[in-house]
């Protein structure tokens, strides 16, 4: 009897623990939409999403976030271009080419990369990447390129970790079969194992995109934060996340609500990315 009671009690405790995260997500959704949607309505959805002028201190103020949407997309695209090839090749190397001794160093190094706080990345970017770009290519240095390089490094652990697991999950028979047909080690890995791990690798890229688009503290220090649509990758932009973090501390009234509405737009982006991720996962599961 006592045993039974204990079991039910702990079941309830586990259930509460499990629902806590769902409750948190629901509360965040509720907060965002309750605060953000009225502001969007007040500004006008078209003016808000497609407006190119962000000037909350003017009277009358303008709240157009198109430059920030474009900025987020540019910076994320740049991070993917830089981070994905390095990440996937690193994963292939670690899973199929790496000598054991080197792996013992490489694996913890990649894990450490994931554990570095983003503000440290930001300072690294500000004192190393930004001056490097300024001295090499000219311009201010705080630019799409700087943010892309920084984010490209930051998404490496995500991409390497998941891709490596996906490559390792491919049954050895694929590799051995390719060898049996006369393929070299390299050929077997790149043309037999890698295609078989495709959906896992794609999932890692999607998660990398999610990380890149949501990153804030590191990006805000290297991206320049100009509120206009840039015409070069050496120009600065403002992303959705940095728009919120730069102005939140002083914003009041509609300005503050407009920043929360910016968060709603970001949230919708993240939802779309997660939807893509589950679609890829489901496809993988049904195979």
């Amino acid at each position: 009897m006592k045993q039974r009671f204990r079991e039910t009690l702990f079941q309830i405790i586990f259930l509460i623990a499990a629902t806590a995260s769902i409750a948190a997500v629901l509360l965040i959704c509720l907060f965002l939409f309750v605060n953000g949607v009225p502001a969007m309505a007040e500004i006008g959805l078209g003016d808000f999403l497609l407006g190119t002028k962000w000037a909350p201190q003017n009277s009358p103020p303008s709240y157009g976030i198109l430059p920030m949407i474009v900025g987020s997309l540019y910076v994320t695209a740049g991070a993917i271009i830089i981070g994905v090839p390095i990440g996937i090749f690193s994963a292939v190397f670690m899973a199929r080419f790496c000598p054991k001794k080197l792996y013992k160093i490489l694996k913890p190094a990649v894990d450490l990369l994931a554990g570095i706080p983003s503000i440290i990345y930001g300072f690294f970017g500000l004192v190393v990447i930004v001056p490097f770009i300024r001295n090499t290519f000219g311009g201010m240095g705080t630019s799409i390129l700087a943010a892309s390089i920084l984010l490209g490094i930051m998404i490496l652990p995500t991409i390497i970790g998941i891709s490596e697991a996906a490559i390792r999950a491919v049954p050895d028979s694929y590799y051995e079969g390719a060898l049996a047909l006369g393929a070299t080690h390299e050929r077997a890995v790149f043309f037999s194992v890698l295609p078989a791990a495709k959906s896992g690798i794609l999932a890692s890229v999607v998660l990398g995109i999610g990380r890149a688009i949501g990153e804030t503290m590191a990006v805000v220090m290297v991206v320049g934060n100009q509120t206009r649509i840039p015409d070069s990758i050496l120009k600065g932009v403002r992303t959705l996340t940095t728009n919120i973090v730069t102005e939140m501390s002083y914003a009041t009234d509609l300005h503050r609500e407009a920043l929360i509405a910016t968060g709603v737009v970001l949230f919708v982006f993240i939802l779309i990315i997660n939807l893509c991720f589950s679609l890829i996962k489901r496809k993988e599961g049904s195979k």
């Binding site: 004192v127 190393v128 300024r134 320049g224 934060n225």
Partner: protein
């Protein structure tokens, strides 16, 4: 086996190369390269840094330099160029200016250090003395005002602001103290509650002062309301506020019925990189740079 050795050697070589480039670019004094170096090239573009919309430093700067344009309908537009990079705090502003030879920015005078160079405005150096005397142009007084002689709690709170303790708080917040020979505070511990209201530039430091005062006098309750300087003075005349705050000199119409006391002076330093050869800018030149009219250093040097 050969391959393994090659891989290890390659990794080692990459690490060394990366560290080399870090060391080279991390130190602003040795980062010569294509555009920097010890010789300052005045044909280079000015890299304008500003603060985020809503920041007190930014609103003071735009107001004092004249970057705020008001049209006939009372609509105001911030003229700061869209190409200006936004630093969202003083530390990022300092690091940006210290590492970029062609940068210009601005910070509160209290945060100034020798990492960067503060330029003179119209020939006046941004020193505490020049700010105190009002000779330095990008500065403004923080005033409080009462309707007639302050009584009870209001008087005790004003005594606190002007005391050694109060002025220490003002200095800690980055403003210039204006009270010479401030004495230690002796509270008379009056009971009650008062409303302090007005300028949004003064209210952050006023909040700090009120907090410190309430810690000393548990019987007191001080509400700080944030509006603007003019509303602060008008509401004080009408009696809504016990003490009004203004981040400007009081007008004659206001001093007719109000007693004003200056509690601090706020100064903003225009800063450039230490390698920059520019020592002095006129107010008009600062405005041209920030509106994007002057884009290269030889436009103003």
């Amino acid at each position: 086996m050969k391959k393994n050795k090659l891989a290890i050697a390659l990794a080692a070589a990459m690490t060394v190369a990366l560290m080399g480039s870090c060391a080279g670019t991390g130190d602003p004094t040795t980062s010569g390269g294509a555009s920097g170096g010890s010789t300052f090239d005045t044909t280079q573009a000015v890299h304008v840094y500003t603060r985020e919309a809503g920041s007190g430093t930014r609103s003071a700067f735009t107001e004092l330099v004249g970057l705020e344009e008001e049209d006939a309908d009372g609509n105001t537009t911030d003229l700061t160029t869209e190409e200006a990079a936004t630093a969202n705090n003083t530390q990022v502003m300092m690091t940006s200016i210290a590492s970029d030879p062609y940068a210009i920015g601005y910070i509160s005078l209290g945060s100034l250090s020798d990492e960067v160079k503060a330029v003179s405005i119209d020939g006046v150096a941004p020193t505490a003395d020049n700010v105190k005397s009002g000779n330095y142009a990008i500065s403004r007084p923080f005033n409080i005002a009462t309707n007639g002689e302050a009584q009870g709690l209001a008087k005790d709170f004003i005594d606190f602001i002007l005391s050694q303790e109060g002025q220490n708080i003002i200095t800690e917040e980055g403003y210039i103290s204006v009270v010479d020979n401030a004495t230690a505070f002796q509270s008379t511990l009056p009971e009650g509650s008062i409303v302090v209201g007005g300028s949004s530039s003064v209210s952050p430091v006023m909040e700090k002062l009120a907090e410190a005062y309430e810690a000393l006098n548990a019987n007191a309750n001080i509400d700080v309301m944030t509006t603007d300087s003019t509303a602060g003075m008008n509401n004080t005349m009408e009696g809504t506020y016990d003490i009004g705050m203004a981040s400007r000199e009081l007008k004659e119409s206001e001093t007719a019925s109000l007693t004003g006391i200056q509690i601090a002076q706020d100064g903003i330093a225009v800063i450039v990189n230490n390698q920059n050869t520019v020592e002095n800018l006129t107010m008009a030149q600062v405005k041209d740079i920030y509106t994007g009219t002057a884009t290269a250093w030889n436009n103003v040097a």
